[in-house]
Symmetry: C2
Subunit: 217 residues, 2 copies
């Protein structure tokens, strides 16, 4: 795949075009930091947007597709989707209400999603989900058996039509507003992970693994 | 509006139906805790999902609609949308890979979004966005003028067809897996807000307001 994804009429950032990002490295970094995506698809003209877990493997993303896969039963050619991943980085406080904003990084990927049926590819996708969120977990938990793989609905979307949009930095105010005696700046927003809560049915002699006790992303 | 929203064929939770929630109080609480929604709409059969800020006022949500509003130019009857709000509460670590999950709360609202043109309703919507994220900010920052309101694209979606899906609590493992010597439990996930970063152009004599210095949601 080329290192830059030429924007199409669907993926070119129209609103605030200076925030559009088309290099694959930045796009993949955003995808790899996120773990929930929002999948959009349409049935009889009604759009649906469903949150679900996802992982990237090479130039494709894999996501749990129970909802969308119902639509796929008779669609061997796949279903048109939009998969969006959004990371919120800060509230941007400007001197005017109008120029308030968010710092964020988002990726929008478009295309046809197809169902993954080969057990080996299903395993790779599940491995990607699990290891991206909990590195090491795959090797400690019981791995999927044949029956579970059959019950797992995973969809694959190749990352061909994809772009990112990024806002960083301080507020941008109208020139005349900079003189206003109003505090302006950014409140950073991030995800935090608290002390893990042991399942009541988990024997107290089993120590919490490092990836749970000191979770970091 | 009734206190319970009868699920329709579009909003009834089909996958994991025990997680479906249809009472308006729970739904509104989730909406009021979130601040980014994902708006889905379709153009020529291609779905799009765009993250944007939103606020609830009574039985409607208002969201910034620059992207969708391009589609609205000639659609006085509105545009079919799905607006989804997702809060992630925890990683659920089961003894088997298959039963790993997330604790989350999500709301899916469907219907026709229309553009808000009346300046008074635009002001109410902007007030709702701003005050839900930064209570008090509206009265300190410069409020929108007529020209800014004209440049603001806000869409309104009545909350008629809406449902929530909620997962809480510990992992649910297969009976035979409880004997495995694998740590199981939940890693709580929440948003955290760090020390605000003053805009370099903001005079150091202006103190950071309490809502920025000690941000809480």
């Amino acid at each position: 795949m080329p290192e830059t994804v030429p924007p199409t009429e669907h993926t070119r950032v129209v609103r605030e075009p200076q925030r559009g990002v088309y290099d694959r490295e930045t796009i993949y970094k955003i995808l790899d930091e996120g773990f929930v995506c929002h999948v959009g698809f349409s049935v009889d003209g009604q759009p649906y947007v469903i949150p679900t877990l996802f992982g990237r493997v090479g130039d494709a993303i894999y996501f749990h597709g129970s909802a969308a896969s119902r639509m796929l039963r008779n669609l061997s050619e796949g279903i048109s989707v939009c998969v969006t991943v959004t990371l919120t980085d800060g509230f941007v406080l400007a001197r005017s209400v109008f120029n308030h904003s968010m710092n964020y990084r988002s990726v929008v990927a478009l295309g046809k999603a197809t169902r993954v049926d080969a057990p080996q590819e299903q395993l790779e996708a599940l491995h990607a989900f699990t290891e991206k969120i909990l590195p090491g977990r795959w090797y400690e938990a019981r791995q999927p058996n044949e029956q579970e793989l059959k019950a797992t609905s995973i969809l694959r979307l190749p990352l061909t039509e994809v772009s990112a949009k990024v806002r960083t930095g301080p507020p941008i105010d109208d020139d005349t507003d900079y003189a206003l005696p109003v505090w302006a700046g950014v409140i950073p927003v991030r995800l935090a992970f608290d002390v893990p809560v042991r399942d009541e049915r988990c024997d107290a002699s089993i120590p919490a693994p490092a990836y749970a006790a000191h979770y970091r992303r």
